[in-house]
Amino acid sequence: MSEDAMQSQEEAQRQAARFRQLIADLKAEVGKVIVGMETVVENTLIALVAGGHVLLEGVPGLGKTMLVRTLADALDLKFARIQFTPDLMPADITGTTVLWEKPSGEREFRFEPGPIFANVVLADEINRATPKTQSALLEAMQEHSVTVAGTSRLLEEPFLVFATQNPIEMEGTYPLPEAQVDRFLFKVKVDYPSLTELHEIMDRTTGHESLQARKVASREDILGLGALARQVPVADHVQDFALRLVLATHPDKEQAPESVRQFVRYGASPRAGQALILSGKVRALIQERFNVAVEDIKASAAPSLRHRMVLNFEGLAEEVDPDDLIAEATANVERKFEQDVPV
């Protein structure tokens, strides 16, 4: 029996309560600065707890960078921001070996870590960098290590990349390669705020007061939250639903709806399944449950799957929204999945 399994029921309940309290505190601190964006904030926090990276997509000025910065402020973690530009080189991210002269006059090569060596990395406008530079993040994002000059260096846990990108300004941008996109747990769309939210934003940002989040969670807290979330049990039928949903994004699978068959070239990878289950676990704890529900999977479906579906030419030409395909695939799976008693 593992140590986790040894925990008593009361201990689990206490930890769950602590979990919810921390999340609530984080939300409250982020909410001090960020107006609205409840879904975005929640998904970001879920990814934070699940230890996954987030790709925030939205037009400029919606507060994507501000959100990540605020979140970093609320966390007692090492934060780094990388502004991606076309001339950014991989070494600018990972760091490089430099010739360093000791006070004794002796010189040696010494590794100077790049901004990637942080707990929370903000990759701002990630699609502005060349694919070569973007690829510098591949190893770090998946294996949480960086290899420079033949030497691999582990990154400190937690390691989280929050990348932003602008979906409309395509001039001088480089679309992220599929391999890299797949490494993001969520792709979160940041929508334009409502009128009420805009009023609130104006009030907060045009006055004398400068709000800042206080630190409410330490590195150990975040790691503890992640460990606790992984203990949440998942019923077979819920996992089955998640995996059927993943398969439903593949045009050649029987679970796929007609629209997926028509507009999708490649479906989501197994990482999508991991994302659905893991995010489902975190969401369950946030919602005061000790089990993952189908509703959790459905709630995570769009952010987990939308960036993992590769549209075919027809889909691109028709400007098909992957969210619509996901909704249809979800409904299709749900229809076949939910067989109730006939009364």
């Binding site: 029996m1 008593s8 309940q13 049990p233 019923a235 077979d236 039928h237 089990n291 509703e295 008693v341």
Partner: protein
């Protein structure tokens, strides 16, 4: 480890509670499942049955009346069994309750986790959470009793089926033949209703519960016929069934006696004839002795008439005349002179009440004139009553035999008052028997009425009135008012009417309980013969079988056997011989 063991025990208790909670939901699901399956089955079956019954009724085809209801009962039973054996594992029920009450897969996950041998703290917390929710589950909320579409359809189908079964088909949808049949059945209803009412009264008087039930059934039958709820074939079957029940009531009320009332009446009439003739002869001699030759001659003539009298009315008349002459000659009696005649008339018509009434009148007479009657009168009456007692032996009124014997003895001993008391007691004892006899007679009449109705409905070409009289002998034609039990078979091939140029004569044919049956036979070739209304196919089988049996028994002469066989072969093949 102690705490670990404790948590596992706690988990087991939680598991038990969880299964108990799901058990409640399962029972509710089975109930609703039974309702749903039953309504579904009823909707389909009742709808189909309504259509089939309607078609059968329109086609005037017979079907067992309660067959659709029996089939529906089987369907309901099947639904109950199916609901009981329907596989409803915990996992299915848990997932269903989760979905219906928005429990976010709590129960489904918990059911799966209960199979975990060493649950972790998180898993135990999960099961505890599920248990917390399952205890608050109200199965009525999860599985409300809804009116399904199938329930509505089942209701409509049932209403349609009952309407088709119970309500008469509007004449618009009936053929001319069917309308005629309905009218015929209504006519039979009019015949049955008074008989049923009479039977009910007789049964009530006799205190016979079974007879009362049969009477009610008969009244209901008449009502159904009047309302057109039965078709011809159903009516025929019901008639047959009712006839059997009435026969049973009749047999139960009064088992057949060795001697019929008609035989007793004849014997009594014969005795009365002889007594009257003897009395007249005695008075004639007395008148001759007094020198009144004219009266003596008249009385001798009366004695002759008395011996030849066949009717009770003639005997009554002669008895009264004789009494007047006896008074003139000073030998008058205050006792009734026509007792035998009146009793025989009452017995001949099987009017048991009238028979008792006659004897009751005699009893009054004895009680009133006890001190005034002469020994000679008492002796004569004693002889007459002893004779009556002897005649009533082996009849339905055998109970009176002993009483009348005692009365006779008392009268012979000159104890007139005691004789009156004895007779009164005997008559009282017979009242119950008379009620039973009346019930038996009424049952017999009802059975005959139904037989007539059956004949009329089978289209034998005999009108109801004629059928009542049997074999063309209606009340207007002769004194016989009942039909013989085998009249039905005979009437099937009997022509309705025959016109004849020959003469008619009465011939005695057979002896029946009521006496000799008189039949009118017509001689000479018929001028025209109306068609039989019975289709050949209905009687062909019986007749062919009878013919085969006759041929096998060599009852048909060898020279005719071939002809007979050819004739029936031709009939069976539908061609004229």
């Amino acid at each position: 480890m102690a705490s670990d063991a404790a948590t596992v025990v706690h988990s087991n208790q939680a598991v038990t509670d969880l299964h108990r909670g799901l058990g409640r939901a399962r029972r509710r699901v089975r109930l609703l499942l039974a309702v749903r399956l039953a309504t579904l089955g009823i909707a389909v079956l009742a709808g189909a049955a309504a259509v089939v019954v309607l078609l059968l009724k329109l086609g005037d085809m017979w079907y067992p009346l309660l067959l659709p209801e029996a089939a529906l009962a089987v369907v309901v039973g099947g639904a109950l069994v199916a609901a009981l054996v329907w596989a409803l594992p915990d996992r299915t029920i848990a997932a269903s309750v989760d979905r219906r009450l928005g429990l976010r897969d709590r129960l489904g996950t918990a059911v799966q986790l209960t199979a975990t041998p060493q649950p972790s703290g998180m898993e135990q917390a999960m099961v505890a959470d599920a248990l917390h929710h399952v205890q608050r589950v109200r199965t009525e909320e999860a599985y409300p009793l809804r009116v399904y579409r199938s329930t509505k359809v089942a209701g409509l189908s049932l209403v349609a089926l009952l309407a088709v079964q119970l309500l008469p088909i509007p004449p618009l949808f009936l053929s001319t033949q069917q309308r005629e049949d309905k009218a015929l059945l209504r006519k039979q209803a009019a015949n049955i209703e008074p008989v049923a009412k009479k039977l009910r009264e007789a049964a009530k008087k006799a205190g016979d519960a079974e007879a009362q039930r049969v009477a009610r059934k008969l009244e209901k039958l008449a009502q159904q016929l009047r309302q057109g709820k039965l078709d011809k074939k159903q009516a025929l079957l019901t008639f047959k069934e009712m006839e059997k029940e009435l026969q049973s009531v009749q047999d139960e009320a009064a088992p057949p006696a060795l001697k019929t009332a008609a035989q007793a009446a004849r014997e009594l009439q014969q005795a009365g004839r002889e007594r009257l003739a003897s009395g007249a002869q005695h008075l004639a001699e007395q008148a001759a002795r007094q020198g009144d030759r004219e009266l003596a001659s008249k009385l001798e003539n009366m004695a002759k008439q008395a011996r030849q009298a066949e009717r009770s009315a003639d005997l009554k008349r002669l008895g009264n005349e004789l009494k007047q002459h006896a008074t003139k000659l000073g030998a008058g009696s205050r006792l009734p002179a026509d007792l035998s005649a009146r009793l025989s008339a009452a017995l001949a018509s099987e009017d048991w009440e009238a028979t008792l009434a006659e004897l009751s009148e005699l009893d009054d007479c004895l009680a009133n004139l006890a001190s005034e009657l002469s020994d000679e009168e008492l002796q004569k009456l004693a002889e007459e009553l002893a004779e009556l007692a002897e005649i009533l032996k082996d009849t339905d009124l055998e109970k009176l035999t002993e009483c009348l014997g005692d009365v006779s003895k008392c009268l012979k001993a000159g104890e007139c008052e005691r004789a009156a008391q004895c007779l009164a007691k005997g008559l009282k004892e017979c009242e119950g028997k008379v009620c039973a006899l009346k019930l038996a007679k009424t049952s017999s009449e009802a059975r005959k009425c139904l037989g007539g109705c059956r004949l009329a409905c089978r289209g034998a070409g005999i009108s109801t009135d004629t059928a009542r009289g049997g074999l063309g002998i209606g009340p207007d034609r002769g004194s016989q008012e009942s039909i013989p039990p085998d009249a039905e078979a005979a009437s099937l091939y009997a022509p309705r009417t025959t016109e004849t140029s020959g003469t008619k004569e009465r011939v005695s044919t057979q002896v029946r309980p009521q006496g000799e049956m008189l039949a009118t036979t017509e001689k000479g070739p018929p001028l025209t013969v109306s068609e039989s209304r019975v289709p050949y196919y209905e009687v062909m089988g019986d007749y062919s079988k009878a013919v085969e049996e006759a041929l096998s028994r060599e009852e048909v002469p060898p020279g005719y056997r071939g002809t007979v066989r050819e004739y029936f072969d031709a009939l069976q093949s539908g061609t004229e011989p």
